[in-house]
């Protein structure tokens, strides 16, 4: 009995092995017979594995070969008789291939069959790659259940290598592409987003709120600089084409210190290359005027800049607000500087200013509050000393295409808090009442460090109502805002997407991408380490963004979460021109005239690419050697003097009315 059972088992095993052998032999025979197709399919699958391509790419490539096949068929059967000839064409091509190969002409043989073999091979390779990836993703493939994890990690490495290669090729990653798309880098992998070679976001997404989170040294600054530069380049191009208002980029760097200055220098150089003519670094090189705010707004801002207590101290806050209101809204007009305001807080000034035109209520208020005037003046004197000259003008946000504002949030927190509040008020006022409509992007880095006076959600709400886009960046989830509710509110309202770099606690942000359905398979363990290809599968909800992958991202890699999908990007680093060389202020004025931009301050505050030099022009308006590099790294143009300037002189363009009057008559009057 036992012998019979054993012989039956052996017979079954032998039969099964024979069946497998026959099936394999049949497969090999088909592969050999269709050698051209098999070779292309194997090559395509190998390339897809090596480059980490999705299967769709091979199938799309096969589909794109359709026109070639149609032309080939039309050419092949041009003398034939209709559909039978078309149907027979592949067979004849296959036959010709083998005949030519046997005759010792492998190249001709390949040429004869290529129009047919390439699309079929690509399609076969694509299907094989689909089968392989599907098998492993569902957990049904490989020798063990861990094979799918190893496969995924290997594919990630391949995809990273391919993306790194793409961004390393010169000129392969433009800053912007047609359709107002801002190119960030090369795509590593996508989930729920369309797969492509380059990762690009639409300009309109930069006009919505965004969140960027990544620890120090992960490439956050590189990513931000690229986004800002692309925003500026696209905005300027759209403006030149009449499609929108000119862009304005305002960055609030709330950390400060030497690192902020280094980033500001990179900011200036890359934005200059993007077409921005004037870039201001506040408060180091440019200033803004707080006193351009409307009087009522100015009063509110000034009072908010001062720390108030609660309880009985609220009384003094009310007194202060009343006095500042009187000083700012005096009949002679609002103050023009901090010195002017402090002068108005001197004893007797208010009484004199309101003597002729003030109401009885004003006079009563002045009488009752005048005994606090000295204390109020003292507090504001201290405040202005802390704030420095950066807010005392001259200058406004409209004077430059881009502003990089450095707030010493690490070193002098109370000062930075006041500055942040004042800068946001100024920008809001500019957005509402500015002389020219601008498409504004406000980027705030580590704003939570200075947001005690102005909660960041309030900034969000204000920005939305003013048409500003806010881009909040932080080193961690906790750095986004002070409270958990506030953090969730910020992240959830990031309509422009979330950029996630390596960070130790990405779960709250990755959870915002949601989940997707995936097949999960269990496999039966025969005896370790052998798992059978038998088990059950079920659909399961898994996160769209793998938090473990985010924790493991390398430098320069980012995940872009948008609308329930994610694109992993290898960010392309922007390299700016060499740093500018300082020169004489007069040249800055000349340059401003030539480029049509106002210089904030007295020729040294705002910057349009370097404190003094301009590509191809010597500081005094004379010539620099033709073709030689300009001091700021630009290339000398054919003309070395300012546009419109008389040779050898600097300043206003020469008068051409002689020739124009002779040709067309004098300029008509309005």
């Amino acid at each position: 009995m036992i012998g019979r059972w054993l012989s039956l088992a052996v017979a079954q095993a032998v039969l099964r092995a024979l069946a497998w052998l026959l099936a394999d032999l049949a497969l090999i025979a088909v592969a050999v017979a269709a050698a051209p197709v098999s070779i292309v399919a194997a090559g395509a699958a190998a390339a897809a594995w090596r480059q980490g391509w999705p299967p769709r790419r091979l199938l799309a490539a096969a589909a794109w070969c359709g026109p070639m096949v149609a032309v080939w068929l039309a050419w092949t059967v041009r003398g034939g008789s209709g559909w039978p000839a078309v149907a027979a064409a592949p067979y004849h091509a296959w036959l010709d291939f083998w005949l030519l190969a046997r005759a010792g002409s492998p190249l001709r043989a390949a040429a004869v069959v290529a129009p047919l073999a390439i699309p079929l091979g690509l399609a076969a390779g694509g299907l094989a790659w689909t089968y392989r990836t599907g098998l492993l993703r569902s957990g049904a493939g490989g020798l063990s259940p861990a094979a799918s994890v190893a496969f995924d990690r290997r594919q990630w490495r391949h995809q990273v290598r391919a993306a790194t290669g793409r961004i390393a090729a010169p000129g392969s990653v433009p800053l912007t592409v047609r359709g107002d798309l801002l190119v960030v880098g090369a795509v590593i992998r996508t989930v729920g987003h369309r797969a492509g070679r380059l990762a690009a976001v639409g300009y309109q997404r930069m006009r919505s709120h965004q969140v960027v989170v990544g620890t120090t040294g992960t490439g956050k600054t590189t990513l931000l600089l690229r986004l800002w530069t692309a925003f500026m380049a696209t905005g300027l191009r759209r403006h030149a084409a009449g499609l929108g208002a000119p862009p304005l980029m305002v960055v609030l760097d709330c950390k400060g210190g030497a690192d902020a200055r280094r980033i500001a220098d990179r900011f200036r150089r890359v934005l200059r290359q993007a077409g921005a003519r004037s870039i201001a670094i506040w408060p180091d090189e440019a200033s803004l005027s707080l006193w351009t705010l409307p009087p009522r707004q100015l009063t509110t801002t000034l009072v908010d800049l001062i720390e108030h207590g609660t309880g009985s101290a609220a009384y003094y806050a009310d007194v202060m607000e009343a006095l500042i209101g009187l000083a700012v809204e005096a009949p002679c007009g609002p103050p023009a500087s901090s010195r002017d305001l402090l002068g108005r807080l001197e004893p007797g000034w208010l009484a004199m200013a309101y003597a002729s035109s003030g109401t009885a209520a004003d006079h009563a208020l002045i009488r009752s509050a005048s005994r606090h005037l000295g204390d109020v003046a003292l507090r504001f004197r201290t405040l202005f000393r802390r704030l420095g000259a950066g807010l005392d003008g001259p200058g406004g946000f409209g004077d430059a295409d881009a502003w990089y504002c450095i707030l010493e949030g690490t070193d002098q927190i109370p000062v930075a808090e006041g500055q942040a509040r004042a800068l946001v008020d100024l920008l809001a006022s500019f957005a509402v009442r500015g002389p020219q409509r601008r498409e504004i992007l406000l980027a705030v880095d580590e704003f939570s460090a200075v947001s005690r006076r102005l909660p960041i959600w309030q900034l969000y709400e204000r920005a939305r109502s003013l048409g500003l886009a806010v881009q909040v960046s932080a080193q961690s989830w906790q750095g986004l805002a002070a409270g958990e509710d506030e953090r969730y509110r910020i992240a959830a309202s990031a309509e422009g997407g979330i950029w996630l770099l390596r960070t130790p606690h990405p779960e709250p942000l990755t959870a915002l991408a949601g989940t997707r359905r995936a097949t999960e398979t269990t496999r039966r363990l025969a005896r370790f380490p052998v798992w059978r290809h038998q088990g059950t599968s079920r659909l399961n909800e898994i996160p769209v963004v793998d938090a473990a992958l985010i924790r493991d991202l390398d430098v320069g890699q980012a995940a872009y979460i948008y609308r329930g999908g994610v694109t992993y990007v290898q960010v392309k680093r922007l390299v700016g021109a060499p740093a500018a060389v300082a020169g004489r202020p007069a040249a800055a004025v000349n340059r401003a005239v030539a480029s049509g931009r106002a210089v904030a301050g007295d020729g040294g505050h705002a910057d349009d690419g370097g404190p003094a030099s301009d590509g191809g022009r010597a500081p005094d308006g004379g010539r620099v050697p033709d073709g030689g590099p300009a001091p700021d790294g630009g290339v000398a143009g054919p003309k070395a003097r300012p546009a419109g300037a008389r040779p050898g002189t600097a300043g206003a363009p020469p008068d051409v009315s002689a020739v124009l009057d002779a040709a067309f008559g004098p300029e008509p009057r309005a």
Binding site: A276, G596, R597, K639, A643, G644, R646, A662, P668
Partner: protein
């Protein structure tokens, strides 16, 4: 101007009416008609009444080949006739100024600029109606012209555009650094000298206020914009003042 040079002139301006051709030739309209007839007989040109006023003359493919110009032979579009006449009138008026000849200035026509751009016209670059290049030579009194070495962009404005559009065009003209047809990366390179030292706007009375407002909106950059009225005879003959017959907006 002899008839060969006039043939090139007509080719550069897409087409001309006989009265303007007479000005080019420096003779009467009867002489212009005779010259045009000779061109037609030689197969160099065609003529027809396309608009109110004298007949239009334009070059055929053979005529363009004779001139050695790489343009595509086309009949002037009806919607462009008013603008073409205005541009030709501006060129003629400028050429009549003594400084133009004395300064050795050169008019580079819109057709030349577009031909240089080749098939890349669809890039939304604005092409001026002409460029005037002033070489570095002495003026009529022996002294150097103040504007020698400059390049001017010429715009003939018949119909008022929106102020924003006009500002955008002015800004593009004054900030452009590369030649037409250059690489896209060279169109506006920060730090390089602008290509056009100034923009000269020749406006109809209707378009002048918008152009003036746009110049004011440019701020300092506006100092490089000059505004004048279109010369007499720049409009198509027939009812209505200059500016009611189309213009660049109809291009």
């Amino acid at each position: 101007m002899h008839s060969g040079a006039a043939l090139v002139f007509v080719a550069e301006m897409y087409g001309m009416q006989l009265d303007q051709l007479a000005t080019v030739l420096g003779g009467s309209q009867r002489r212009a008609t005779a010259v045009a007839a000779r061109w037609r007989a030689a197969g160099h040109a065609q003529a027809a009444v396309l608009s109110p006023g004298p007949r239009w003359v334009w070059l055929t493919k053979a005529g363009l080949a004779t001139c050695g110009l790489p343009f595509t032979a086309n009949t002037p579009g009806l919607s462009r006739l008013a603008h073409l006449r205005a541009a030709a009138a501006v060129r003629l008026a400028l050429m009549a100024a003594p400084q133009f000849t004395a300064g050795g200035a050169y008019w580079r026509s819109e057709r030349r600029l577009r031909a240089r751009m080749g098939g890349r016209i669809g890039l939304r670059e604005h092409v001026p109606d002409g460029e005037v290049h002033w070489p570095d030579v002495d003026g009529p009194d022996g002294a150097g012209l103040g504007w020698a070495g400059e390049c001017w962009a010429i715009e003939a404005e018949l119909t008022p555009k929106t102020s924003a559009r006009t500002v955008a065009i002015m800004r593009e003209l004054l900030n452009r650094t590369g030649d037409y047809g250059c690489l896209a990366a060279d169109v506006q390179v920060p730090g390089r000298s602008p290509r056009h030292d100034r923009a000269i706007y020749l406006c109809s009375p209707a378009a002048r206020p918008v152009v003036a407002r746009a110049r004011d909106a440019l701020g300092v950059l506006g100092s490089r914009v000059e505004i004048r009225l279109l010369p007499a005879g720049a409009g198509l003959a027939g009812p209505g003042p200059v500016g009611d017959a189309g213009g660049e907006g109809a291009l």
